[in-house]
């Protein structure tokens, strides 16, 4: 831990966490530049950077700024939101399996989106509200089922896994009820893809992040760290336990739901990013900023793999994270089992 002091003011930070955060940011930015440069009209990274800084030929600038940038910004924002939301959930639940995609929040947001598309034929902002509604309803159902046992422990995880399974069934049912055109749109969305994303898809998420990130990082991170020691200990240190828990939960559900609205259900980034970040920073606590930047880097990497790795076909980013993340989940379950935590 290092300290910066000026008079009565002091700020404390871990140099290692700072390095990890900076590295993730650099990787995410580099991948973003590569992603913008790739496609039917390839551009070198130097050209991309020049255009982003305001230079370059107008036709190239059009391709970069209007066609490719929205997709990449969507990817970065979705990854950041998933990493951040995942870090909040895992910290609150006090278990690495307490991730929103395991607990059913991602699935619940998907149900909200599908209801919006299939039942109401809505798009754009309506999809965003549908996702938020789905996420919040999922949260309320989980809270009702866990009751006084609270939002932590094995019980919550088992209930969450059950809810996730049920919601997956609900989502399948909703698809069968869709008109052909809506069904095609819904299918496309459900794969979790960045294809064809425009500014209108990502703006709700960007606005939400602009509010959520300062709230979580500046106001909530320190109380959350205290909460990890148990409710009684946190309360003894002057934390308003229920208020903090509700506040950060709502913020995390918003982030997860809007990420799902923007890109479809992209699984496992919320599970993996905080854990990778923690392994690298070796710091206790929610590791919010490193998790967020790690999420952005992971999502960009997964999207590039989906675009490039398989000649002739492009895989949606949700399929790539599903394949890689599923493997990680198996590994996690085995190690958690060995250490007797589940």
């Amino acid at each position: 831990m290092s300290v910066l002091r000026a008079g009565d003011l002091s700020v404390r930070f871990r140099p290692r966490a700072l390095t990890v955060g900076a590295a993730c940011l650099a990787v995410a930015a580099a991948l973003a530049v590569v992603a913008i440069g790739s496609g039917d009209f390839p551009l070198t990274p130097a050209q991309v950077v020049e255009i982003l800084l305001g230079g370059g030929a107008p036709s190239d600038a059009f391709i970069v700024k209007e066609l490719r940038l929205p997709r990449v910004v969507t990817g970065l924002a979705v990854g950041a939101a998933l990493g951040l939301g995942g870090a909040v959930f895992q910290s609150l639940v006090r278990n690495p399996l307490g991730s929103p995609d395991i607990l059913g929040f991602t699935q619940g947001a998907s149900s909200g989106v599908l209801v919006t598309i299939v039942v109401f034929g809505g798009g754009g902002a309506a999809v965003a509200f549908g996702a938020i509604g789905g996420g919040i309803v999922t949260g309320l159902v989980i809270m009702a089922l866990t009751g006084r046992h609270g939002l932590h422990g094995q019980r919550l995880i088992l209930i969450g896994i059950g809810i996730a399974a049920i919601l997956t069934g609900v989502n399948g049912y909703l698809l069968t009820q869709a008109q052909i055109i809506d069904a095609a749109r819904a299918f496309l969305w459900l794969a979790g893809s960045l294809n064809g994303r425009g500014w209108s898809d990502v703006v709700p998420l960007l606005i939400a992040l602009a509010l959520i990130v300062p709230f979580l990082v500046l106001a909530a991170a320190r109380p959350m760290r205290m909460l990890e020691m148990g409710d009684d200990a946190a309360q003894g240190l002057g934390i308003g336990v229920e208020r903090v828990r509700m506040g950060v939960l709502v913020a995390a559900v918003l982030a997860i739901a809007l990420a799902a609205a923007a890109a479809g259900p992209v699984n496992f980034v919320a599970l993996v990013a905080p854990q990778l970040a923690r392994r690298l920073t070796r710091a206790p606590g929610p590791n919010l900023v490193p998790s967020m930047l790690m999420g952005a880097a992971l999502l960009m990497a997964a999207d590039l793999i989906g675009q490039r790795a398989f000649a002739g076909t492009q895989l949606p980013v949700g399929v790539v994270t599903g394949l890689i993340g599923g493997g990680y989940l198996v590994w996690l379950l085995v190690t958690e089992r060995k250490s007797g935590r589940i």
């Binding site: 006084r148 760290r225 200990a233 934390i239």
Partner: protein, 265 residues
């Protein structure tokens, strides 16, 4: 009756619909080392949680400095009254110094994250509890006794004039139990009001200046250990026949359980 900054007036304590205590009135004398004793599940932790505002009473009120504790601002309360809960979770991969430093939370703010005062108090708290040499070790690698002393150091770093400890000696071997109790006695001598839940009646009788005996959520006796600890009380509260003799070391009451059968030789 002596002055009491902290007291519970006619408390009804309950979890959901399960009532643990009714009409319970208890005062913590200022500057005392108060020990709460009673059989398992009689409500000791519940009372301590209510006294520290972790649990809101269904009825009645906890008063601190004459004011309802529920009206105290959270951080100010946490600078006045510290709680070591019966079970806390050491976050994965946290070092001893980092855990103890968390006790400083109520003294900190967004732009006052780590003052020189914080640094000094954390170092002092670790020295006082004898964990200074463990500073950079990971908490999950420590023995039970070491870990317990780290938690006490954290509570100490909170620098509160009143300290509530729920079973600080559980899981410790006899030598470490005495070590922790001596530490509590030191804290008490330095002027703090210490309240502890203890399991061992003899430890309670030896260290307490004020003893509170609970049974089924009712206060059955309180006062100096010499007055409270009698064979009749122990039998009625714990349901165990015994004799009470003088502790040869300190002269305080010593509970000797009655033998069911005489010694073999």
């Amino acid at each position: 009756m002596t002055d009491a900054r902290l007291s519970g007036e006619k408390l009804t304590l309950a979890y959901d619909k399960r009532t643990i205590a009714q009409n319970l009135t208890v005062a913590i004398p200022d500057g005392s080392f108060t020990v709460i004793v009673g059989p398992n599940a009689c409500g000791k932790s519940t009372l301590l949680r209510a006294l520290s505002r972790v649990l809101t009473p269904k009825d009645g009120a906890v008063l601190l400095d004459g004011e309802r504790i529920s009206a105290w601002p959270a951080k100010r309360l946490a600078r006045t009254l510290g709680l070591l809960p019966q079970s806390s979770i050491a976050p994965d991969g946290i070092t001893v110094t980092d855990l103890v430093a968390r006790g400083r939370y109520p003294h900190q703010g967004l732009l006052r994250q780590w003052s020189r005062e914080d640094e000094r108090v954390v170092a002092e708290s670790m020295d006082a509890t004898g964990v200074g040499a463990l500073a950079d070790r990971y908490v999950d690698e420590l023995s039970g006794g070491q870990r317990q002393r780290v938690w006490i150091a954290m509570a100490l770093a909170q620098q509160t004039p009143i300290l509530l400890l729920d079973e600080p000696t559980t899981f410790l071997d006899i030598a470490h139990q005495i070590e922790v109790l001596d530490l509590c006695a030191d804290l008490h001598e330095q002027g703090r009001t210490v309240v502890a839940v203890l399991h061992d009646l003899n430890h309670a009788a030896r260290y307490a200046t004020h003893l509170v005996a609970l049974h089924d959520g009712r206060l059955v006796a309180e006062g100096a250990p010499g007055d409270v600890v009698t064979a009749e009380l122990v039998e009625s509260v714990f349901g165990m026949p015994c004799r009470v003799i003088d502790d040869p070391e300190t002269g305080t009451p010593l509970v000797v359980p009655a033998a069911r059968r005489k010694a073999v030789a």
